[in-house]
């Protein structure tokens, strides 16, 4: 389980340079265009297959990175840590978000693996996580409106007259055009993300501004989580009761106290639980599900 690694994440980041000196890992293999294609294809293929409520598309992102991470981390323990950090909550759009972030992540992981092999201070896990979390939302916003909102319907609109006349090309052509176009520019984004990430990683590592950048990305990451919490978590009360013929709607009362209080309460309870007990994701999931089921059966939420 990813529990202990992430639970000790703060300590890990602080001890990282100490660890790197003690325990050098073998030199990573060079990342080629073929590796970028493999990872892009892996993400493209897995995309929505392993979608879950709690991690969303993280497993698919991890799946795409598997071949590349194997080339970078010849050390079993570091490989395991890399797998685990890419299984945490991640959600974005496939080409604009996923393609770009696959490239960026590979470049950061490569810089980290190289530094660990050379005994230098590596890019921290926090840095990699925060970069992904900070960028996934805005890129998804762009991608959703362009890919599924625009590109898809342009092709459908062009070929719909064929379908209306009963010609199957009216179905096949928009599909093929959409599949080929998105696959091609998604791969282009992967390559672009990789070269951008490499340049950024170099500057970060030589500029000595790592701590500031980690904090900055942490601010952006937490900020985007706050936005997502406000938009994704849907918990509201359906409870109504009446005292001496006056009907009280619990959600209305909660709204006058503090709008959005229930989703925030759920997140903070879980956060508090993880703070106390460490990152026990499975238990958090089970407790949360039980609570939601019981409360919703009685229409409290």
């Amino acid at each position: 389980m990813s529990e202990e690694v992430a639970a000790n994440n703060v300590d890990v980041a602080e001890n990282e340079d100490v660890q790197a000196e003690e325990h050098r890992i073998p030199q990573p293999d060079k990342i080629t265009n073929k590796d970028l294609m493999k990872s892009w294809f892996g993400w493209w293929w897995a995309n929505e297959v392993p979608h879950t409520f709690d991690r969303m598309l993280a497993p698919a992102f991890c799946f795409g990175l598997i071949p590349t991470l194997k080339k970078l981390y010849k050390d079993k323990a570091e490989l395991a840590k890399a797998f685990q950090r890419h299984l945490l909550f991640f959600n974005t759009q496939a080409t604009w978000g996923g393609g770009t972030l696959t490239g960026v992540t590979i470049s950061l992981e490569e810089a980290r693996a190289k530094a660990m092999a050379n005994g230098e201070e590596p890019i921290s896990e926090d840095m990699i996580n925060n970069t992904k979390v900070g960028l996934m939302g805005p890129l998804a916003g762009i991608g959703d409106s362009i890919d599924s909102g625009t590109v898809q319907y342009i092709f459908i609109a062009i070929f719909l007259p064929f379908a209306q006349k009963g010609n199957f090309m009216g179905a096949l052509l928009p599909f093929l055009c959409f599949a080929i176009a998105t696959f091609t520019y998604g791969y282009y984004f992967t390559k672009m993300g990789y070269s951008l990430g490499r340049a950024a990683a170099k500057e970060i590592m030589t500029g000595g501004r790592m701590a500031g950048i980690i904090d900055g990305l942490g601010v952006l990451g937490l900020y985007m989580m706050g936005i997502l919490a406000g938009q994704y978590i849907k918990i509201q009360s359906y409870l109504k009761f009446s005292i001496s013929k006056k009907v009280f709607d619990v959600q209305d009362i909660l709204n006058t106290i503090l709008p959005g209080i229930l989703p925030l309460f759920a997140v903070l309870m879980l956060y508090w639980y993880f703070q106390k007990k460490g990152l026990k994701i499975t238990r958090g999931l089970v407790y949360l599900t039980i609570a939601l089921v019981v409360l919703s059966i009685f229409y409290v939420i």
Binding site: L57, A80, P138, F183, M224, I235
Partner: protein, 256 residues
């Protein structure tokens, strides 16, 4: 209209729906899911009447034109809707508009099925944590791709087969009956609340308590401005500005 599909026709259509809804054919299944066209074409091939199938499908497409799924949740499943509505229309010699009347409620039920798939994945994908911890790439690959595919097939094939073989009208009736029931309410509530988990995990992972005010700032900005429908990009620009300000002011302090 008591003509039905043959067992093989029903099975093949069910298999197609499972292929699309499991998303095992990659990202391009997005357009197979959002648009009825490919499903209509396959149904036409399987039933041997491509022309009429395409005409009915084109009418259904117009209903679902412009469907997008921000954050991955689609309000209906056009693929499932089409897989039920087109056979019924072809067998019953219905007008394309009659097919739409069947497609819309079935598509709604389909979206609950798709959500239910996420729910099953949430629990069934746990072995991937074990394989990740062991650094076992092969096991991890199987857990990520194999398990959810099996789940989708086990979920969609039998349901679609029963629906197709025993008749879509039964399904439309069923939808109307359970649409406002407790079961759907519970599924909605659990689906809506579980996102809290992933977000709490990231907060724990980012791990810096002194940065938490930015989470609250963002949360209440998003609650307060919900009606303005501000795009993610604008929020990201706010976030980036806060990040730059934070770094600028904290680093100044340390150089002094």
């Amino acid at each position: 209209m008591h003509v039905t599909l043959s067992i093989w026709q029903a099975l093949l259509i069910a298999l197609w729906v499972a292929l699309v809804e499991s998303r095992i054919l990659g990202f391009s299944t997005l357009t197979m899911r959002f648009s009825p066209l490919m499903t209509g074409m396959m149904v036409g091939f399987i039933m041997g009447d491509i022309k009429q199938a395409m005409i009915v499908t084109a009418a259904i497409q117009l209903v679902y034109m412009g469907f997008v799924a921000p954050g991955g949740a689609l309000p209906a499943e056009p693929c499932i809707a089409t897989a039920i509505a087109v056979p019924v229309a072809l067998l019953g010699h219905m007008s394309p508009q009659g097919a739409i009347a069947i497609a819309v409620p079935v598509g709604l039920l389909g979206s609950y099925l798709y959500q239910f798939r996420f729910f099953l994945n949430t629990f069934a994908l746990k072995p991937m944590d074990k394989y990740a911890k062991e650094g076992n790439a092969r096991g991890l690959g199987f857990a990520i791709m194999g398990i959810p595919t099996l789940i989708s097939f086990a979920l969609f094939i039998p349901l679609m087969f029963i629906a197709l073989y025993f008749g879509a009208p039964v399904i439309s009736g069923l939808v109307a009956n359970i649409e406002h029931g407790t079961l759907i309410h519970v599924l909605n509530s659990v689906g809506g609340g579980l996102a809290a988990l992933g977000i709490a995990v990231i907060m724990q992972v980012i791990g810096k308590k002194q940065l938490l005010p930015f989470f609250f700032l963002a949360y209440f900005m998003s609650v307060a401005f919900a009606k303005l429908d501000i795009s993610m990009t604008i929020y990201a620009i706010f976030g980036a500005i806060f990040a730059i300000l934070y770094v600028t002011f904290t680093s100044k302090k340390s150089t002094n």
